[in-house]
């Protein structure tokens, strides 16, 4: 008698990925290295909205997302958005080859050992995290579709409208 409702619950749980209304987590206080070797500490960027976009030369959807994220950076930088494109290639020369093909204005940072990816507990590639003015991760995206950029834009504008 108890079997059927339990079974239905388990089936529902397996089929549906519930979105639990958990409180936003603080972004880990990581430090990245940029193209020139300078350190970038995420904590130093508080006060503004940060979009961390994890990419790799071998990630096929990144070929589409990379220029579009860069365009978003150019569009919203003056309003307070900082975009950091975090590369996770184990061999940086592959990242450099990709960057030669795709011009960019946003900040590029390197995470060849995956420490930062691990700190953010990435579930898929590509992944993006949007951090609010108070340093909390408010939005997480996995994968890249035609709708992703407009989602980024509306989420960033929402966070920019919030005070500190």
């Amino acid at each position: 008698m108890i079997g059927r409702p339990v079974f239905a619950f388990v089936l529902a749980a397996l089929l549906v990925t519930p979105v639990l209304g958990a409180a936003p987590k603080d972004a880990p206080d990581i430090t990245l290295t940029d193209l020139s070797g300078k350190p970038i500490r995420l904590g130093d960027l508080r006060g503004g909205v940060v979009l961390l976009d994890f990419w790799a030369s071998w990630c096929i959807p990144c070929r589409r997302s990379f220029p579009e994220v860069d365009a978003l950076h150019r569009e919203l930088q003056s309003k307070g958005l900082t975009v950091i494109a975090v590369n996770v290639d184990e061999q940086q020369k592959n990242a450099y080859m990709f960057l030669e093909k795709y011009p960019h204005t946003m900040t590029i940072a390197f995470d060849p050992k995956g420490a930062v990816a691990q700190a953010f507990d990435l579930q898929a590639m590509p992944s993006s995290m949007i951090v609010d003015r108070r340093g909390r991760i408010r939005f997480t995206h996995e994968g890249y579709t035609d709708k992703t950029i407009s989602l980024f834009r509306s989420e960033v504008l929402q966070l920019l409208a919030e005070g500190e």
């Binding site: 030369s57 071998w58 184990e90 592959n94 579930q123 590639m125 992944s127 996995e142 890249y144």
Partner: protein, 74 residues
């Protein structure tokens, strides 16, 4: 089904079962080598043509599965 078929099927299913549990998980950002064209199954159409050609000349068929592995990108 002959005993040989049963044994072979059992071995493959066990291997597949072990596969599914996985030992150390490869993290999504560590898949660079797995995404290389040399590491991907059936990366090109030449392989499909050769399978077709072989099946036209030999008595056997198929058995090979479908893409997985690779970059694992969403």
């Amino acid at each position: 089904m002959s005993w040989k078929t049963r044994v072979a099927l059992a071995l493959t299913l066990s291997a597949a079962g072990l596969s599914a549990t996985g030992c150390a998980t490869v993290q999504p950002w560590q898949r660079g080598l797995l995404a290389d064209s040399c590491m991907v199954f059936d990366a090109n159409n030449t392989a499909a043509y050769m399978t077709h050609w072989q099946e036209a000349r030999e008595g056997s068929m198929g058995g090979f599965g479908v893409q997985g592995g690779g970059c694992g990108c969403k």
